[in-house]
């Protein structure tokens, strides 16, 4: 990795280890780097502790999505998902699924989530479909078709066991899990004409987050908070760029996207703060809630550096590839 490659690196995905002491990050060169949070957060941290303890090439395309289960790290490359044991991250445990669609272009995998109730992995990507796979056996159970363009993001409602998906076609679809394959779906694609639509950017939905009754979605349209039962937007956040990831955290909504800052917003629709960061635009935000000692927020984007926030109001330091 010469300095020119570092200059053009983008971080697309992050995932914390089950114990919460390590952070795995995936970049556009297909590499996954493992950082030790305990070393970086310790009082005698040095320059070296902000470098990865392990850096390996996982896929030959960019790693758009990383997901952590209790024992494994799942990484998604071009049409393939690999599982790595957290215990020994060097050895590949198994390659869970490998797709070959058209030979011309292999679809990427943009989002992965886990349904803990029946231990299945839900994957959405470039072929406009959502695939559900059983993690025990590795067999694909079902395919949810319906989107007309590729899927950006997935989200899971625990209580009703429903999947929400947002895609390039501007539609947010809700998939029930009670009947297989696809039962009822509802779209919130009527964003055109609504107050959150921003036609100068486009109509794609690139971030989704849900808090049982509430749903956040944004992308081309402004980031907005929707009440799910009534399917109507309650507040629209006046953020200038297109948001790529948003999370609910306690009373706040934190979102990242175009623009070198993390936005803190309140449910009412006001933007409380915009915390500046080093990358010029951000792709991923992750909160380490599993471990109380290392309770940090990390963001990564168009830079080889990942910003770490120990106090969510300001950037503490940066890890770098």
């Amino acid at each position: 990795m010469g300095p020119v490659e570092l200059l053009h690196m983008s971080v697309f995905s992050q995932s914390f280890s089950p114990c919460g002491r390590f952070l795995a990050a995936g970049n556009n060169y297909g590499e996954i780097a493992l950082f030790s949070l305990s070393a970086a957060l310790s009082p005698d941290a040095s320059e070296g502790s902000q470098k990865p303890i392990l850096n390996f090439t996982a896929h030959d395309g960019p790693v758009f999505s990383l997901l952590s289960t209790d024992t494994h790290l799942l990484s998604a490359g071009n049409g393939e998902i690999s599982a790595w044991s957290w215990a020994e991250l060097i050895k590949k445990v198994s390659q869970l699924f490998s797709k070959c669609m058209t030979s011309l272009e292999i679809p990427e995998i943009n989002a992965m989530i886990i349904n803990p109730k029946d231990n299945s992995l839900i994957v959405g990507g470039g072929d406009n479909n959502i695939h559900i796979m059983d993690m025990e056996t590795g067999i694909f159970k079902s395919v949810l078709k319906g989107h007309t363009d590729y899927i950006h993001c997935l989200c899971f409602k625990e209580r009703e066991e429903e999947i929400l998906s947002g895609g390039e076609d501007g539609a947010v679809r809700i998939w029930g899990h009670t009947e297989i394959p696809l039962s009822r779906f509802q779209t919130c694609s009527g964003m055109v004409g609504q107050e959150c639509a921003r036609p100068q950017f486009g109509k794609w939905i690139s971030c989704l987050a849900t808090d049982s009754d509430w749903m956040l979605c944004g992308g081309g349209p402004s980031l907005s908070l929707w009440h799910l039962r009534s399917m109507s937007p309650t507040s629209v956040f006046p953020l200038p760029g297109c948001q790529r990831e948003a999370v609910f955290h306690q009373d706040l909504i934190m979102s990242v996207g175009e623009g070198p800052y993390v936005s803190h917003c309140l449910h009412g629709g006001t933007v409380k703060a915009q915390i500046p960061c080093t990358p010029s635009s951000l792709n991923t935000l992750a909160l380490n809630l599993k471990n109380t000692e290392h309770r940090v927020m990390t963001v990564g984007g168009s830079s080889h550096q990942i910003d770490v926030f120990t106090n969510f109001s300001y950037r503490a330091f940066s890890l770098s590839f």
Binding site: H8, E108, P199
Partner: protein, 684 residues
């Protein structure tokens, strides 16, 4: 008691010094019959204790008598009565006793004092004698030690050891029967032997000197004879010249060069030998010549010590004169000193590297004698006249042509750390001021001359020729590569300035057949202008740019869209890839920092060296990068679904490129990768 004492007589008078009243009395009575009372003699008989008791008794009696008189007087007796008179008489007698006792006491005291004094005198005398004796003892001891330490001159003469002496010396000198017992004789004998030997050796020396003179004369004669042969040989050489040319063995030329080479300073000599050897063995296009004034060089080598002494003497003289003169000639003298310090050796080497297309790189190597470094100046002569491309002005500039041949070898400062001290003495702050006159002291030049300075991270143990040989091949290859790269760039620049991107046939497969965006401007920038651009700050911050790089601005246009690309060209092109930073002016201004797609375009152009460098030696790199930039701009503009303010007007750029998907991934990047031969665009 006292009455007895009065009546005592002495026939003789023994007078001693003490006691003045008695003395006076005795002198007065001395003419008469000598019957004088000597109280002092009496003193010895009396016991002081008894006298004391007597005194007490007398006092008591006196007191008693006084009391009785008092009584009598108070009881009314007459003044002249008998009892009172009796008592008066007794009192008087007592008084007299008391007086005597007093006298005796004084006399005792005096006697005691006299005795003490006498004793002290005696003691003093003895003490003085003791001191005298001690002093004398000390003196004698010193004398003894002085005598013992005495070294006679004879001990400074180095003598052979005793065994050798006994072995070598003839019997009449060594006289073992005497000398073995007697050390003094032994030493004398040894000295004798020494003297003999020295005399003998002096004789030998004289004889050797005489022989040497004779031989010297013989040599002179032979020399004269040889030099008389010289003209004859010259004639033969001249006659053989045509033969040499006919057989193409430039024997004489090489000899001449070798002759001159003898006067070269060591580093230049090493360079000459190694370069000539390399040229003969590996590279027929390399040639080495010596140029310069041979006579001056001879003069220099003949008296190197003298010239140094002269310098220091003249310095001293100048300093003296300095203090006497009032006018400030310090500046001129300093200038002279500087010139002297920076003096070049009169001989220099010229190395020519010829390339296949007829252009030649001339390298002139100079040796700075006082600083002990080599410098190089360059000149490029081309077969064809290079038409002036404006932006190519810097490429073949002799000042910067060889910049950074090896990474970070700028040739601005002298690599010899000792020069720092020399510069301080004459007030030179930086060598960079003199570089344009004297040439560049690159580190590789020093290595080729076999000079190794401790500051170049000295890991190698090589010195001299070995060092030069180990670097020769690589350096020559780099030099040739540099010349070719610069010439290629020169040609490319002249066509870039005419808005034509020269893509060679081997690289056509990297690009689609139809490229609509075109290069409209190609200009050179200075470092200052570069740093002022807003969209290059990330490159500056990452430390990928330094002042010695070359900076260019390329403008690619299509329709209303204008793409500005700031290019950083490292002197070591094509080893180091040029770095592009983009800024697009189309419906607003965006740069690689604000938009992910432009960043992806930058990455497409900057990162993929293996694809873009084309056939070896990779001289197509820059032009391929520019062509790829045009292709990427095409893709960007055609896939941008601009729906401004809701209206769907006619698109400015119709979709012509074949793409499977226009957006992919979370950042919705466009497909910039061209696939050959299918001819469609995909994502990386």
């Amino acid at each position: 008691m006292s009455s007895d004492a009065v009546k005592k007589r002495k026939p003789k008078v023994v007078r001693n010094e003490a006691g003045t009243p008695e003395t006076k009395r005795s002198r007065a009575e001395g003419d008469q019959e000598v019957r004088v009372y000597n109280e002092e003699v009496e003193l010895e008989d009396r016991d002081p204790q008894q006298d004391y008791m007597l005194y007490k008794d007398t006092c008591a009696d006196l007191a008693k008598l006084m009391a009785e008189i008092q009584e009598l007087k108070s009881s009314g007796a007459k003044v002249g009565s008998v009892e009172i008179e009796e008592r008066h008489r007794q009192c008087s007698v007592h008084f007299i006793t008391l007086k005597k006792l007093n006298r005796l006491a004084h006399m005792r005291l005096k006697k005691g004092r006299d005795q003490t004094h006498e004793a002290k005198q005696r003691v003093d005398v003895l003490h003085l004698q003791l001191q005298n004796l001690l002093y004398e003892v000390m003196h004698l001891q010193k004398e003894i030690s002085k005598c013992l330490e005495f070294k006679s001159q004879h001990e400074e003469i180095e003598l052979v050891s005793e065994e050798e002496f006994f072995q070598e010396a003839p019997a009449e000198i060594s006289r073992p029967h005497v000398t073995r017992d007697d050390n003094h004789q032994l030493t004398l004998a040894r000295l004798d032997w020494e003297l003999e030997q020295r005399k003998r050796l002096a004789e030998q020396y004289k004889m050797s000197l005489a022989r040497k003179e004779k031989i010297q004369k013989a040599i002179e004669q032979k020399r004269e004879y040889l030099s008389s042969l010289q003209p004859g040989l010259q004639n033969i050489m001249q006659a053989s010249l045509p033969v040499q040319e006919y057989l193409s063995m430039p024997f004489e030329q090489m000899q001449k060069q070798a002759e001159v080479a003898r006067h070269l300073p060591p580093p230049l000599y090493v360079l000459l030998v190694q370069a000539a050897a390399y040229g003969q063995a590996c590279d027929k296009t390399l040639s080495v010549n010596i140029s310069g004034d041979v006579d001056e060089a001879k003069a220099l080598s003949r008296r190197p010590e003298d010239s140094q002494e002269d310098e220091s003497d003249s310095d001293a003289e100048e300093e003296q004169q300095n203090t006497k003169r009032r006018r400030a000639t310090v500046g001129v003298q300093l200038e002279d000193k500087r010139k002297a310090m920076l003096r070049r050796h009169p001989l220099s080497l010229c190395v020519d590297l010829k390339c296949k297309d007829g252009s030649v790189l001339h390298l002139f190597f100079y040796y700075l004698m006082n600083l002990n470094i080599l410098t190089v100046k360059t000149k490029v002569s081309t077969a064809t006249d290079l038409s002036g491309a404006v932006s190519a002005g810097e490429l073949l500039n002799s000042e910067s042509l060889l910049n950074c041949l090896y990474a970070s070898d700028h040739g601005k400062e002298t690599p010899n750390p000792a020069n720092r001290y020399q510069f301080d003495k004459v007030g030179i702050t930086t060598f960079a001021d003199y570089v344009s006159d004297l040439g560049h002291p690159y580190v590789w030049v020093q290595k080729l001359g076999g000079l190794q300075f401790s500051s170049d991270g000295a890991q190698s143990e090589l010195r001299g020729s070995a060092l030069s040989a180990s670097h020769m091949e690589k350096t020559m290859k780099l030099l040739r590569g540099r010349l070719q790269a610069r010439l290629a760039l020169h040609k490319q620049f002249s066509s870039l300035e005419h808005s034509i991107i020269p893509v060679s046939s081997e690289c056509q497969h990297l690009f689609p057949a139809k490229v609509v965006s075109g290069l409209t401007r190609w200009t050179m920038m200075s470092y200052q202008e570069f740093t002022e651009l807003g969209f290059v700050q990330h490159v500056l911050k990452a430390g990928l740019v330094c002042e010695t790089d070359l900076f260019f601005m390329a403008v690619v246009e299509r329709g209303t869209a204008r793409l500005l690309a700031a290019v950083v060209l490292n002197p070591r092109y094509p080893e180091v890839m040029p770095l592009f930073s983009l800024s697009l002016h189309w419906k607003g201004e965006r740069s690689g920092r604000t938009e992910d797609n432009l960043r992806a375009m930058e990455s497409e152009v900057n990162v993929f060296r293996a694809e873009l460098q084309g056939p070896r030696p990779g001289l197509q790199l820059l032009t391929n990068q520019i062509q790829r930039l045009c292709v990427c701009l095409d893709v960007y503009l055609e896939t941008e679904s601009q729906v401004c303010d809701g209206s769907e007007g006619p698109r400015e750029f119709p979709r012509e490129k074949m793409c499977l998907r226009t957006a992919r991934g979370p950042s919705r990047l466009k497909p910039f990768k061209y696939n050959h031969p299918q001819g469609f665009f995909s994502h990386r």
